[in-house]
């Protein structure tokens, strides 16, 4: 949409409200302050506030998304994309026929030898389709294979962290584009005005921590109100949320009442609907102050639920805690909840470090799926799990009996998705024996993003914003396709 049209739309909505309220009448004000009334007043069935009038483009299966982002590039080979033949390939040189002259990152391009490494873990087949999963590292994930689709044929052009993580989250390798969550907020609005529409939670693994950037949840050229809001484990859950010491909520109420009255007088002088909008933002902030902290308090969750998320649930800021919070946010109507778990960049000591990472994420991620499922929420919640790229079959650094590393690999990697009409118990895409090249059903990260939008009822070619002369979109100018095969 053209930004000026978008602006005009916002303007007209305000004017409408003022007109229906007869200028500054009490009705208009209460409508503004309780936006739930807008929908009913206009006879609309929309449950969202804000957003574009023509969205969703079609009835979507998903109302919300929980994206479990594994930052650093988890090894697809060691987690999901396993082949028994790799045991035989272990120690052999990566054939040129497989590498096909592909560029290698500066970290391993100087190696003289590229010995292939089979996972130093035990794998087993699970579920109705006998899906290979790392038995040592992902026992809980193994338990949900019949609820998820595992895509083994993701691919990206980027092979370094910064461009790759920016690419998958914003659709471009360079900075400046809006994140997927910002696009969704812009397109679909929010389902609960007392909560941010796009929440980000970050947890730390124990491995090499690659950097994250605000741009990964930023709004790029979209209005900044669409940027992701970080929910923080320490201090205030949302920045600046807490009233100052010595000044409680009741005192704030009294202050805001005065402020509202003063701003009302100002409106009389200038007749600018923007002033009314300001009043309503202060009221929303006030409600957010009540709503968010309540969501952070998990003490009321039943024991069996708490136990299901595993022992790390007790640690604020852990991936386990964030998974449970994600479910709670989802219940409250937060549209897009993105967890970043850091520490997957295992250039060396992969066997020990990936074990630690999996200890952090395996049980909570599986618990989240089961928890959503038993509440019926998996029907309309899309869960996505994965990182910015995969890792090489060959060892980075020296291969020893029990140790090795793996470099970045963009030609194929694995993600899984669940819920919102994504097939339960399904595998998609195939790679070669070396888990190096895709041999069947490639899924570019653009296709992944198009598919995510599709689940929400969005045609990715139609969710646009005109900026610098172009109808910009999340999936960019190259072609992207919804991966229909994984949809039930």
């Amino acid at each position: 949409m053209d930004p000026s049209t978008y602006q005009a739309l916002v303007e007209s909505r305000r004017s409408f409200l003022l007109k229906t309220g007869g200028g500054l009448g009490a009705t208009a004000l209460s409508t503004l302050l309780n936006p739930g009334l807008i929908g009913s007043a206009m006879g609309s069935e929309m449950q969202s506030y804000g957003g574009l009038p023509d969205l969703p483009h079609f009835p979507g299966k998903a109302k919300r998304i929980i994206y479990l982002f594994m930052s650093g590039g988890p090894s697809h080979i060691d987690l999901f994309d396993y082949k028994p033949i790799q045991r035989k390939l272990h120690g052999t040189e990566l054939p040129d026929s497989v590498r096909q002259g592909q560029r290698l990152t500066g970290m391993s391009s100087g190696q003289k030898s590229f010995p292939c490494v089979a996972p130093m873990f035990e794998f087993a087949k699970y579920g109705k389709h006998q899906t290979w999963v790392n038995k040592d590292l992902l026992p809980h994930t193994a338990g949900i294979v019949d609820k998820i689709t595992i895509i083994k044929s993701l691919h990206t052009e980027a092979v370094n962290h910064d461009p790759a993580i920016t690419y998958i989250n914003t659709g471009a390798q360079q900075q400046g584009k809006p994140s997927m969550g910002a696009w969704l907020s812009y397109g679909l609005g929010t389902m609960n005005q007392n909560m941010p529409g796009y929440i980000v939670m970050i947890s730390r693994g124990r491995g090499q921590l690659q950097a994250l950037y605000d741009r990964l949840w930023g709004s790029g050229f979209l209005p900044s109100k669409h940027q992701g809001v970080k929910l923080r484990s320490a201090g205030e859950p949302v920045l600046y949320l807490k009233n100052p010491e010595g000044f409680d909520r009741a005192a704030r109420r009294v202050q805001l009442d005065s402020l509202k009255e003063l701003n009302g007088l100002h409106h009389d002088r200038f007749a600018d609907p923007e002033i009314q909008a300001r009043i309503s933002q202060y009221e929303m902030a006030y409600r957010m102050q009540a709503e968010v902290p309540g969501l952070m308090d998990i003490s009321g969750e039943p024991d069996h639920i708490k136990e299901s998320y595993g022992p790390q649930l007790d640690q604020p800021g852990s991936f386990a805690r964030n998974c449970l919070l994600a479910r709670r946010m989802a219940e409250k109507g937060v549209r897009y909840i993105q967890l970043f778990h850091r520490g997957w960049d295992q250039h060396g000591s992969l066997p020990s470090k990936i074990r630690q990472q999996c200890e952090d994420i395996d049980q909570p991620a599986a618990a989240l799926i089961n928890d959503l499922d038993q509440r019926g929420m998996l029907e309309d919640t899309l869960v996505v799990f994965g990182g910015e790229f995969g890792r090489t079959i060959y060892s980075q650094g020296k291969l020893t009996k029990d140790n090795h590393g793996r470099d970045h690999h963009g030609r194929c990697f694995t993600m899984w998705m669940a819920g919102a009409g994504v097939k339960r118990g399904f595998e998609y895409g195939k790679t070669d024996d070396h888990s190096y090249n895709i041999v069947e059903n490639p899924v570019h990260i653009r296709d992944l993003n198009a598919t995510i939008l599709d689940r929400l009822g969005i045609d990715h070619t139609k969710l646009t914003f005109k900026y610098q002369g172009l109808d910009q979109r999340l999936t960019g100018v190259e072609e992207a396709h919804v991966v229909k095969d994984i949809l039930a």
Partner: protein, 1035 residues
């Protein structure tokens, strides 16, 4: 829902009776047709951007709507025929189709795209108001009267300085009844230093200014000298053409000054990376693309980046033209991998007075200390004890077997003793560790120095090596692997590598002798590589004849062939950098072991070379007859004698060492700023079209020369084919874009929106100007004035349109909802920086210091380390008055910028942003209500009210209003706030501990004599006033 939001209601009332192609038709064709039938592509052999083409294709019948295929396709219901096709996701509204029909009926007239045609203007017109009034009259809208004086002074002060006026300034203006009162006010504001800051802040967004490198590690850099240059340029009212030339090509100006070089840093502000696995050329191309994008966008409002992978779909910019423009920026010396640790060369050292003075003092102290040591040495050399020792040792040596050593030894590093005893063997100067750890190894039973690439040593001994004098460098080396780096150097990396070194690259040994890399330099490198992990003796001789032919390299006594990599030396190589072992001034660490490094002030002959591989120079000198001993021979002997146990001398050396360290600590971070620098003509980097924009797919069949798009005026005949030529082209008077784009940006700063709403896109896809003649008039006027920026700003704020009341009348809203016609002045929320600065200003906390490194005010915990590489990066909050600097000086970490500014729409500045969004969100309310910075400001403001000469609540509330919104409160407002005050006062009196906690915010001291309950209650009032919509808005 959809019906309600339908567009017709919202269309601006600007459409006039007859069709104007650029205003009415081009936007429709461009947005819906050009993508396939435009400059970039002509599907079905049809181009609709060119009348001839369209007529030739037979799709347009001027004057005959019914016969025009275009219309038939637009209204067709056949999905195979309808245009635009369904998959384009473009649907024309009935109004748009009607417009096209009318256009064809009127003859389907085309005009060149308006912004590519040089502006013409009627010189007789005196003021921009002429155009605004004309448009208003046309639609019969009566403009608003002038705003009241208080609103006006607050508006113009915020717009021109980013700060609110003081109550004194307000009252003086209100009281000044002279007709020039407003103009005097404007003149005062334009002369205030805050004007330059305000203008610079907007420019910083466009220039993607930041204090960090953005990508991957997002490490620190120092570009604030560039930012300070911008502030000064605006305050000095540097003409915009000069402002342009210095920022695009300041480094290329003849005899470029430091300031001009700093200015060229505009195009070093972009994101950089040194991520471990990155491909340097990919990054380098990305940097060049960013420069193209930013430069084209900032100066010309063109989206040139669209043509990186294919011809531009909407504007007349072919892919080849893109790469011609690219070529201007493709010849720079800065590399693809750019350090995360500070500034990446090329840089320029920026003078810093305080530091210079301290360095001068240290230098003096050092000279004195050296003098003392010298005279002590001289005394020793005459002492009987020394003479006796010399006599005895010489006799011993003469009896021993002859060890013939060549004369001319000037420096000698025997690498003996503990770290503290490490000294240069001729002068006795201390060899001080600069970085890393002291490590030693052994060479044939003798101690040698071990270097790991991160360790370096330096010695402050005079070195007479020059470009026109012979010298010899000799050393035992045991390189690690294919080590690269400097074994020995005296070189200033940041002054174009002036100096010399003993150098290894890929295991090969050589030297740089440099006046200015690489236009005035000599470099040779041996053809054979040294064996790794083996001790080998290398000797490099130079005959002082300035030619690479005069360099010889000997490996284990045998001369080896070498390659010449630079041979253009012709000027001094003197630098104040010390002699170093193991590195150069900013890096190039060498890994390996090192022993017996010797320098001679002559080129040793082939016969002498093997002698210096072994033997003890001291013994050789001792064996020499006294009259055969050179001056430095004598020094060697004194040094050896002093080394045997002269405590006084040791103390003197220690004193020098202390001074050296102090100097080094100061010198460690010379203030530099990154600059642009081109390769010399003989090393020009060739530019090729990159297939689909990919760095690794150059189309090598054609070398692309620098040039500008054909749709724009040609380059001046004498324009050099470099950035300087480009810069001069941009500001040549007939350039259709530069002046328009600039004045449009100024307009936006003052009126909220540009005359061209798409401030960054003056192309076909941009919005045509609301007042085209006004834009042209302003552009012409700007050029004619000599690109006088302050003059233009003044002209704009002097207009009646600017000075109008911003009250929204229902008639105005009905007829012109977007206020395009400016019947009233716009009112809009202040940008985040202004909101914070205003709070600091009215509370009295604001620190008005201008410029300098970024500062770190209050920021919630963990913002940095939550996302930083390896998670360890902590934000170290500043203290004292650095907490209260203007927001433009806040340290800008681009991967995690200051959240209270981001929430207020500050861009991350990772990329060029010309126009900020302006949103209104609950999070903004949380910032101004709960951020300690704002709470502290409210506390300080309350204190200011309580300590003022006003007594009584009403008078204090008035003062609070006067400070924040430039007017006293109304009766009703006073009532509301008095009630709020009383309630809070009662509450805080009841709970004094709450008052204490509430007041505890912030680092600035509180006046403890004030009653805490009263202070806290007033703090609530102050905070409420600071949160008024009126405070947050420019009215």
């Amino acid at each position: 829902m959809k019906a309600f939001f339908a567009l017709p209601l919202l269309i601006a009332p600007l459409s006039a009776a007859t069709i104007d192609f650029n205003r009415d038709v081009r936007p429709i064709l461009s947005d819906t047709c050009f993508k396939c039938h435009g400059p970039g592509e002509n599907k079905g052999d049809l181009r609709l951007d060119d009348r001839e083409d369209a007529l030739d294709a037979g799709v347009l019948s001027p004057g005959d709507v019914a016969k025009s295929e275009v219309v038939r396709r637009l209204i067709s219901t056949d999905p195979d025929e309808i245009m635009p096709p369904p998959e384009a996701n473009k649907v024309l509204t009935p109004e748009q189709i009607e417009t096209l029909k009318n256009w064809i009926a009127e003859g389907a007239k085309y005009d060149d795209h308006w912004s590519f045609v040089p502006p013409v203007a009627d010189d007789k017109i005196q003021s921009p108001d002429h155009f605004i009034d004309e448009a208003l009259t046309k639609v019969g809208l009566e403009p608003m009267p002038e705003a009241d004086r208080r609103t006006l002074i607050r508006r113009v002060t915020l717009d021109l300085t980013g700060l609110p006026p003081t109550p004194g300034e307000v009252e003086a203006f209100v009281a000044d009844s002279s007709p020039e009162a407003y103009e005097k006010l404007v003149n005062r504001l334009l002369a205030s230093p805050a004007y330059g800051e305000r203008m610079a802040l907007a420019w910083m967004d466009a220039a993607r200014y930041g204090d960090t490198s953005v990508m991957h590690a997002d490490g620190p850099r120092d570009m604030w000298p560039w930012r300070d240059w911008v502030i000064k340029a605006y305050n000095d009212n540097m003409p915009f053409d000069q402002f342009t030339v210095e920022q695009i090509a300041g480094d290329l100006l003849p005899d470029a000054t430091v300031s001009q070089k700093v200015a060229s840093g505009f195009n070093r502000n972009h994101a950089t990376s040194d991520e471990g696995g990155a491909f340097p050329e990919e990054l380098r191309v990305e940097y060049v693309a960013d420069r193209v994008q930013t430069t084209a966008n900032v100066w010309m409002g063109l989206t040139m980046e669209c043509a990186q992978c294919h011809d531009h779909k909407y504007d007349p910019i072919s892919m080849k033209e893109y790469y011609q423009f690219f070529a201007y920026f493709n010849n720079t010396t800065d590399p693809g991998m750019q350090t995360r640790n500070g500034n990446q060369s090329p840089v320029v050292e920026v003078p810093d007075e305080a530091r210079e003075q301290r360095l001068a003092e240290l230098h003096q102290a050092m000279e004195a200390a050296k003098q003392k040591a010298e005279s002590h040495r001289a005394g020793v050399a005459q002492s009987p004890a020394y003479l006796a020792w010399l006599q005895e040792e010489s006799e011993k040596a003469r009896k021993a077997p002859a060890d013939r050593q060549p004369d001319g030894l000037t420096h000698w590093f025997p690498m003996a003793g503990s770290e503290k005893e490490f000294q240069e063997g001729v002068s006795g100067a201390t060899v001080a560790k600069e970085k890393g750890n002291f490590e030693t190894s052994m060479r044939e039973g003798d101690q040698a120095l071990k270097l790991n690439g991160k360790t370096s040593y330096k010695v402050e001994a005079p070195v007479a090596i020059e470009f026109d004098r012979p010298f010899t460098l000799a050393a035992w080396v045991k390189p690690s692997g294919k080590a690269s780096g400097a074994i020995l150097s005296k070189m200033d990396d940041q002054a174009a590598y002036r100096g010399f070194d003993l150098w290894m690259e890929g295991g090969r040994i050589g030297t740089h002798i440099i006046h200015q890399w690489e236009s005035n330099a000599l470099k040779v490198v041996s053809r054979p590589a040294l064996k790794p992990e083996v001790w080998q003796h290398v000797v490099l001789t130079y005959d002082g004849q300035r030619k690479a032919a005069g360099v010889k390299i000997y490996l284990d006594g045998k001369e080896v062939p070498h390659d010449v990599q630079a041979d253009s030396l012709g000027a001094t190589i003197a630098t104040s950098q010390p002699l170093r072992l193991g590195a150069r001034s900013t890096g190039s660490g060498w890994t390996g072991e090192l022993d017996e490094v010797r320098l001679y002030d002559r080129a040793l002959t082939r016969g002498e070379v093997s002698a210096v591989a072994g033997g003890d120079p001291v013994t050789a000198i001792l064996a020499r007859a006294d009259d055969q001993r050179s001056k430095s021979d004598r020094e060697v002997l004194v040094t050896r004698y002093l080394g045997t146990g002269d405590k006084v001398y040791k103390g003197l050396l220690a004193e020098q060492e202390k001074l050296t360290q102090q100097t080094a600590a100061l010198q460690k971070k010379p203030v530099t700023s990154m600059i642009m620098q081109d390769n010399p003509p003989n090393k020009m980097r060739q530019t090729y079209i990159l297939d689909r924009g990919a760095y690794d797919s150059p189309k090598k069949d054609e070398v692309i020369q620098p040039g500008v798009p054909a749709a724009l005026p040609p380059l001046p005949e004498d324009a050099p084919p470099n950035r300087l030529g480009l810069a001069r082209w941009l500001v040549q008077p007939d350039h259709p874009l530069t002046a328009r784009v600039a004045v449009n940006r100024y307009w936006m700063m003052l009126f909220g929106d540009g005359l061209v709403k798409t401030v960054g896109d003056f192309g076909s896809q941009g919005t045509p100007p609301s007042h085209p003649n006004l834009l042209d008039w302003l552009a012409r006027d700007f050029v004619k004035s000599g690109w006088d920026v302050k003059g233009m700003m003044k002209k704009l704020v002097m207009t009646k349109a600017y000075r109008r009341s911003s009250r929204i009348e229902s008639l105005h809203r009905e007829k012109d909802a977007e206020n395009k016609l400016l019947a009233r002045a716009p009112r809009f929320r202040l940008q985040g920086e202004f909101i914070r600065d205003q709070a600091l200003a009215v509370s009295g906390l604001l620190n008005r210091e201008i410029g300098g490194p970024g500062v770190k005010p209050y920021q919630p915990a963990n913002i940095w380390n939550e996302v930083s590489l390896n998670g360890g990066l902590r934000y170290r909050q500043d203290s004292g008055d650095k907490l209260y600097r203007r927001s433009m000086y806040t340290y800008w970490k681009r991967s995690a910028p200051m959240p209270n500014m981001l929430i207020f729409d500050a861009p991350s500045r990772e990329k060029c942003v010309i126009q900020r969004q302006r949103t209104n969100t609950p999070l903004q309310a949380l910032v101004t209500l709960n951020d300690p910075q704002f709470l502290e400001a409210a506390r300080a403001l309350a204190q200011r009210l309580l300590k003022s000469d006003r007594s009584g609540s009403a008078a204090r509330i008035d003062l609070c209003y006067q400070l924040a919104v430039s007017r006293p409160a109304t009766e009703r407002e006073r009532e509301i706030l008095t009630r709020l005050l009383d309630k809070n006062l009662a509450a805080f009196r009841e709970n004094p501990e709450d008052a204490a906690k509430f007041l505890a915010v912030g680092k600035s001291p509180r006046d403890e004599t004030l009653d805490p309950a009263e202070h806290a209650a007033w703090m609530v009032v102050a905070q409420t006033v600071l949160n008024l919509d009126e405070s947050l808005t420019r009215n």
